[in-house]
Symmetry: C2
């Protein structure tokens, strides 16, 4: 399933903060539309980022079962806050073998375990972009209740302090709200 995030003047999600964490910025956007078909695309977006919901790349069977037992889907009624965090990793990352990347992600950085601690409050969907020739490698989408945003910040701070994040060379952080 290919998802496109369109930033611009239209879309269901209102941008309430847009922050460049590392590398080049994205043009400013007032709203974000999340489209799963081309026909949903707005006419003149400021930017469009595509990604694919694909198979698991690092998650093991036990982790998958723990995640499945705790996680809830997107679109929950109380989840009126969201974040879109596009990330690119540097060429050193992509030259690593599978076991080296897995060791950095989980054994060193506890990426999967940290995400698990914040379930079910912080729902998450990962979109893979690198193989599409996109400017970012991943687009991570999070949904949560607005009162859980401090917990979300805490989770992000832990991930950004990890060994894995030393390979991130571009990152933008967009915070979004659904209007009542």
């Amino acid at each position: 399933m290919t998802i496109t995030f369109h930033g611009g003047d239209t879309g269901r999600w209102r941008v309430h903060a847009q922050h460049t964490v590392k590398g080049d910025a994205l043009p400013p956007a007032a709203r974000v539309a999340v489209a799963d078909t081309d026909s949903d695309a707005p006419t003149h977006p400021a930017w469009s980022l595509r990604g694919i919901v694909s198979n698991l790349r690092y998650t093991g069977k036990d982790e998958r079962e723990r995640l499945a037992a705790r996680q809830e889907g997107l679109g929950r009624r109380q989840a009126k806050a969201a974040a879109l965090i596009p990330i690119r990793k540097d060429p050193r990352w992509w030259a690593l073998a599978q076991d080296e990347r897995r060791a950095i992600i989980e054994e060193q950085s506890r990426h999967i375990s940290i995400g698990l601690e914040y379930l079910p409050a912080i729902a998450r969907r990962l979109h893979h972009s690198r193989d599409l020739g996109e400017p970012f490698d991943f687009l991570t989408w999070f949904e949560f209740a607005p009162e859980d945003e401090p917990r979300f910040e805490h989770m992000l701070a832990r991930l950004r302090a990890s060994a894995e994040w030393r390979y991130v060379d571009r990152e933008v952080d967009l915070r979004l709200r659904l209007d009542d």
Copy 2:
């Protein structure tokens, strides 16, 4: 890097055998063109299959080093024979966690180790297609000297007899030759 294989009446590689191993056939083609840009595309191909040369998905560091020490590149002067083997795996495969797929590929099926035994004679490049919404999940391209085709057959027979191949639900086998 995106590569497109075009089957039809034109292209550098002459098809000397086209065989459907499992599932639906591909329309017959007399020649195959390998294109790394859209401008190289023939006008009316019988079929076009796209794939991406991407990062390693299962190969570990030690395996990568053993492969790198033995493998040779594509385009060797003596490599006038090639094979294009498009494969699709069934939904059960893609629902497995990373460690389950890795265990089937290598610990049960010895896919990486078997490939290593045939290096440097059988050069290989894997193209990932599934995330592009293509009809196959992988396009594997092999190049070898025509006198090594029996060794190539032997390698394929071992892989097709493996636990991993029980997840393959579509496979086509094209054998190609460069004209002198």
